[in-house]
Subunit: 288 residues, 4 copies
């Protein structure tokens, strides 16, 4: 006879046990609530709509934040089971530094913050956007996310380097263009930081067209920078391509290893003397 599940284990099964049907229902409910919050943010940006249904928007926000807060409290309570950790303190500590908690906490922060400190209203409204980052949690369980994330994290160094090179090119291009175009267009290139705006639009090949060089030398420099921008787009693409290929090849290599082990583990007949022999040494052919 099994002893009854402790109440915290019951909560764990409901909100965090992937195999449990209740967890799936709970996840679906939370994802629906997150989506509704995003819809509410979009709708409340329409001034007339917001003025008419102000009370409803605020009620919905309050209810949402309360549910999100309860979710966090429950996750603290079941951290022990989630991390399969004996000591409650360590489990809670691990939860409190986890990616999931930080996102959840930032999402409810803008609601509680004005209760603690006085805060600029406009800044607060922007903080509310943090609720949207909960969207990222929707992708949590996907297999593809993992393989995508693996590919990216394996080439983290190269990608970071590309980003750094991009930033350096940005600064050099922006500063150069400031010196070249400042006198011809003092209002378009008033200082170096402003001409960085031109540089970012050019290097990413977005090209809004609100600012562009007008002197022949400026156009020559801009053309060269635009060509470099193409290279800047090509670098991360090439890195990611090879990363995807590599993660694929690894999966294949693991599979092949297993197949070969199956072959070499079998008995086989010596073609010379007809004896049954067992291949002892498993040769390694792991390539790629």
């Amino acid at each position: 006879m099994r002893s009854p599940r402790p109440w915290r284990k019951i909560i764990y099964d409901v909100i965090d046990n992937e195999k449990d049907i209740y967890t799936r229902i709970f996840d679906a409910f939370m994802m629906g609530l997150i989506t509704l919050n995003v819809v509410a943010i979009v709708l409340s940006s329409y001034q007339s709509l917001y003025n008419t249904y102000k009370a409803e928007f605020e009620l919905f926000e309050k209810v949402s934040v309360i549910i999100f807060t309860i979710e966090i409290i429950l996750r603290v309570l079941v951290a022990e089971y989630h991390y399969n950790e004996k000591r409650t303190f360590r489990a809670v500590a691990r939860y409190l530094v986890s990616f999931g908690f930080i996102i959840d906490f930032l999402a409810i922060l803008p609601f509680y913050l004005p209760m603690l400190i006085s805060i600029d209203l406009r800044f607060l409204r922007m903080l509310r956007l943090l609720r949207m980052i909960r969207l990222f949690k929707i992708t949590r369980y996907s297999e593809s996310v993992r393989s995508l994330g693996d590919a990216i994290s394996e080439r983290k160094d190269e990608l970071l380097l590309t980003a750094f090179l991009g930033l350096m090119m940005l600064f050099l291009s922006g500063t150069l263009m400031y010196f070249v175009e400042h006198e011809a267009q003092p209002e378009a290139f008033p200082d170096v930081l402003s001409s960085l705006w031109w540089a970012v639009a050019t290097l990413t090949t977005v090209g809004y067209g609100d600012v562009y060089p007008i002197t022949p030398f400026g156009k020559f420099i801009a053309g060269a920078i635009a060509f470099l921008g193409v290279g800047l787009v090509a670098l991360p693409t090439g890195i990611l391509s090879s990363a995807f290929m590599e993660s694929l090849a690894k999966k294949k290599a693991r599979q092949m290893q297993k197949e070969q082990e199956a072959i070499f583990g079998q008995q086989c007949t010596c073609p010379n003397c007809g004896e049954k022999i067992m291949l002892e040494e498993t040769p390694e052919f792991s390539q790629n």
Copy 2:
């Protein structure tokens, strides 16, 4: 002595039997008709031309739709042969849910719809565009389409995830920029949905330049988003590169497997005792 072909089999040979010369002629005729329909749509957009030749345009449309309708009816009749299915009912059902039928049906729908229900004329004109989707049927028989489609469908999950990440970034960018720029440019960023228009132009690096941030903070955020947009372009490219590589490697592996089987099936001389032996066990070297 062969019994005479049933009349439905004759129709099948004419319209749907890839090996038959009549089918090729029929296909060429239908492709020509589809192309002419597209030309007619383009030409009828010139108001003066349309007014002069209104009767001719309408006649051509009527004739085309009648031919397309007859094609559908014929394809229903020969479904049995196409799907190699004994029960007529099942064969027709399979045709009616096939990709080809849905395209063909949507292409003639705008002609018959106003006979059944009263419909807004402007909306109807837009529906006529559906005739253009028949263009997609032109690519039906190509070998390359299959290999392209294989590569894409094999990485469907990763590509869908990229699309989802793109949409999420779109919403986050658009909402963020709304809060940052709304006060400075209420006419450019009037609500969240409108600022999504800016976000899509930036993330896809199109950059029309009709809307762009003007505050320093907005420009900073926009620059960061533009850089993320480069990554968003790099992701599907990398995924597709590796998908093409993989489908190529698979083709190679199949070829190699055949070659090895040919080798190991041959008799060979044992280097030890000089006997002719037949290799029984085909070792597996399938790599990649």
Copy 3:
């Protein structure tokens, strides 16, 4: 004692024999002349410069065309040696349909054409641009051009299909946007062909910003098309990536094949009985 070289062989050695020093000098001279022609075209676009030095520009053009014409005549004379073909007639015929001849002929055509038929002066000026296509001959001897060309021609089918898909998307997008935006902006989207201009700027992510949708529905459609445009950029990139990888792998496979043949062709000592044996059957390990 060798018989004296025939005079056509001497010309061949001077203008078309890669190993000959004279050919290198001749090539360098022709490339210089082509470059000077391009410079002349660029400079003659400056109206004031052209008016001042009109005689010099025209003289230079005349001299260039005469030299280019002589080159063609000489190449006809040495076609026999170039194609290593006994029958003079066949050799000349092969030269006259070669890529090199067509480029050379088109480059001098605009000079001789007005002598034969009366021609619109403005159209003639545009034809003179054909002289610039001689630039493509500069890349003739490069190793990289060959490997680049191999990679592209191997995936010709997929790339053509991508181009065809792109054109189809272009037509569908342009026509759709015409119906959506024509009434709101009759001057920006006056007919289907004009709205193709918007579609091409969007699908290639160029985004000039001279034409863009202003209705909410039009913006929604445009956003979707811009995302598809990113895919349209990703497809050829992925195809080319895998093509470059494949041509590389082939080069490696050829190298490896040679190495293995060298190994298996050697005598080796049987580890069992100490006899020298010759491996007769060369096993195939050609992978990738």
Copy 4:
């Protein structure tokens, strides 16, 4: 008993010995100084800020250049140790043609130049930008830079060819568009060099939108060029993808070679006679 280190060896250990802690501190200090110089350039572009703190900016520049000059002198003194070269003259000569020296020298040049020759003040200000190229030295020690650089330098030929093809397409597109659009928009396409500005914005898919064709034929040509521009972006990306894949495969092949050598060096049991034999000849399976 070791003889005391010569004073130049001491300096070498402090500024150029990667294993020495003093070198790390020295590098960190120099990087900080370079970053501060960049910040100073950015800040001094704000006219009001520059006018207020003119003396401070000039003092900081003087101090920086003096430190940079001392660094160069020190590096000349320790060249002998850096290049592990007996003859001092050769070591100094090698340093003076090294990439590092040229960057460092160009960075201090704008300060000393006006002392030697009279120079246009505006040109001088632009020269000061050269201080920023010192930023490139920050990436010196990174592992990723090396692997990135290896991938790029291995495909140098193909990438240069792509750049050359891009330049050729640029010239052809620009000249063509000049002839097509010059009469319709003489102010937008005044001469060939000006229409190159349009061509570069289109081929790199930046698309500022300050210049664009307005005639139907011009738009048709521009659309075709924009599609070619997509290919121009796809080419270097594909080349870099395969380069990254190749450098990865090489790393793997080296690793595999080592593993196989370890295997084949081991004793193994002959399946025929049961004797322990040592494989003498290491078969080559080096693939990919």
